[in-house]
């Protein structure tokens, strides 16, 4: 076997092995997307009821609360960035990071100091490499986040927002995550979580014109709101974590699918080249034989004379 042909054969073998791996990863990611989507759906009733309750207290009482009132002159903001622990997901992490950087830039232009909180090893690595300060980071659960994880992430954020700005607290809380629109589309979004805009919250429930009943608050509107808002933040962060996980798996699936497709294409091209090389080798051998034979025939013909 010629050297050229051997090289092609070796590359085909290696690409075939890679293709098998990417195909397996694609299928794993596909099954995880479905699982993650189911989790998003399972968490929806709680989020919906909670949103309804928040709207009810917010509109049904005249209570002022640090989490619903906008600071007159916001000077500090917190940005929570959700990335994944593992890569191999195409542009998933870089899109989220880019969105966070644009948001940070915008907030800084508005004269606010930004504290960054990061979930996921990829985001942490990106910020550490650029030696930027990170207020707090969380890793290790982005593939399958639980509610306890969301609570863990939310705790320092709620504490920061409840602290006075002068003592190192923040006035605003933004969250950057990748919204799961469909299997094919995931977009990085950066909504403001706090202070709450009640009209937006109301629009989310989808029933804008619904007249909310006058609730009786037990024990009091302030206490209910006090207890409700941290839960609301937790549930929103939980939802964002779940969506981000689903998006990550969908992105992985897509990246692995195109890797598999590319590997298949590469194998095709390489086998064509290998076939051509083999054919060239055969042709050369034949012409060598023919050339040798005719030389021999010429030589014998010459000796005859």
């Amino acid at each position: 076997m010629g050297a050229q042909l051997r090289v092609y054969k070796r590359r085909i073998r290696s690409v075939t092995a890679t293709k098998k791996i990417t195909k397996a990863m694609e299928m794993i990611a596909a099954s995880r997307v479905v699982k993650a989507q189911r989790k998003v759906a399972a968490s929806t009733p709680y989020a919906q009821e909670l949103t309804r309750a928040v709207t009810a207290v917010g509109t049904g009482s005249n209570t002022r609360h640090p989490l619903t009132t906008e600071a007159e002159n916001p000077t500090r903001a917190a940005v929570l960035l959700l990335t994944s622990d593992r890569g191999l997901a195409g542009a998933f992490n870089s899109n989220a990071i880019k969105a966070a950087e644009q948001l940070t830039e915008r907030l800084e232009r508005e004269g606010k100091q930004v504290d960054t909180y990061i979930v996921g090893r990829r985001g942490v690595a990106h910020y550490n490499f650029r030696e930027r300060t990170v207020a707090e980071s969380f890793t290790g659960f982005t593939d399958e986040p639980t509610y306890a994880d969301a609570k863990k992430v939310a705790a320092p954020l709620i504490e920061a927002i409840e602290t006075e700005t002068a003592d190192g607290g923040v006035d605003e809380l933004h969250i950057v995550y990748t919204e799961f629109v469909s299997m094919m589309t995931q977009t990085a979004v950066d909504p403001r979580l706090l202070p709450l805009r009640l009209d937006e919250v109301a629009a989310e429930t989808g029933k804008k014109d619904e007249i909310l009943p006058l609730y009786d608050f037990e024990p009091s509107a302030e206490d209910v709101l006090d207890a409700l808002l941290p839960r609301y933040v937790e549930s929103r962060i939980y939802n964002a974590l779940l969506q981000s996980a689903a998006s990550k798996h969908a992105a992985t699936r897509r990246a692995m699918k195109s890797a598999t497709d590319n590997a298949g294409e590469l194998i095709n091209t390489l086998s064509r080249l290998a076939n051509a090389a083999r054919q060239a080798e055969i042709t050369q051998e034949i012409s060598e034989i023919v050339g040798g034979a005719s030389a021999l025939a010429d030589a014998t013909a010459g000796s005859d004379n």
Binding site: A42, S43, A56, D223, R231
Partner: protein
């Protein structure tokens, strides 16, 4: 037929129970509260404790609820809890072990959680 109210018991990550009921008893921060059909709209903060639901077919559903809210309007009652378990989902022996461990370690909140679950589990048996 007696009037009914629709109950949704939801935990943060799943819907635990949903159905029609005639009476729901839950523990709020200011004491136990019973809600029957036609109750005034209500929004309250729940304590850790068992929630008793009398279903319209005469049965009783007990659930252990750890923190959360009760909201009632238009004969629709939602119980929102971070963690909620139905009594028949609770493994009594495991909870007893947890209770002992919590007591030994002096972990007051874990002890209270285990206690609530134990009470919810034994209430129906």
């Amino acid at each position: 037929m007696a009037a009914e109210l629709h109950v949704e018991l939801v935990a943060a990550d799943r819907q635990v129970w949903s159905g029609e009921a005639t009476l729901v008893v839950a523990r709020t921060t200011s004491g136990d509260i019973g809600v029957m059909p036609g109750h005034q709209p209500l929004l309250g903060v729940l304590e850790s404790g068992p929630v008793t639901i009398r279903t319209s077919d005469g049965g009783t559903v007990v659930a252990a609820v750890h923190g959360g809210f009760i909201s009632f309007a238009d004969d629709k009652l939602s119980l929102l809890a971070e963690i909620a378990e139905l009594s028949d989902e609770i493994d009594v022996q495991r909870v007893e072990r947890e209770l002992e461990r919590a007591k030994a370690e002096g972990d007051a909140s874990a002890e209270r959680r285990a206690d609530v679950r134990l009470r919810a589990a034994t209430a129906t048996r």
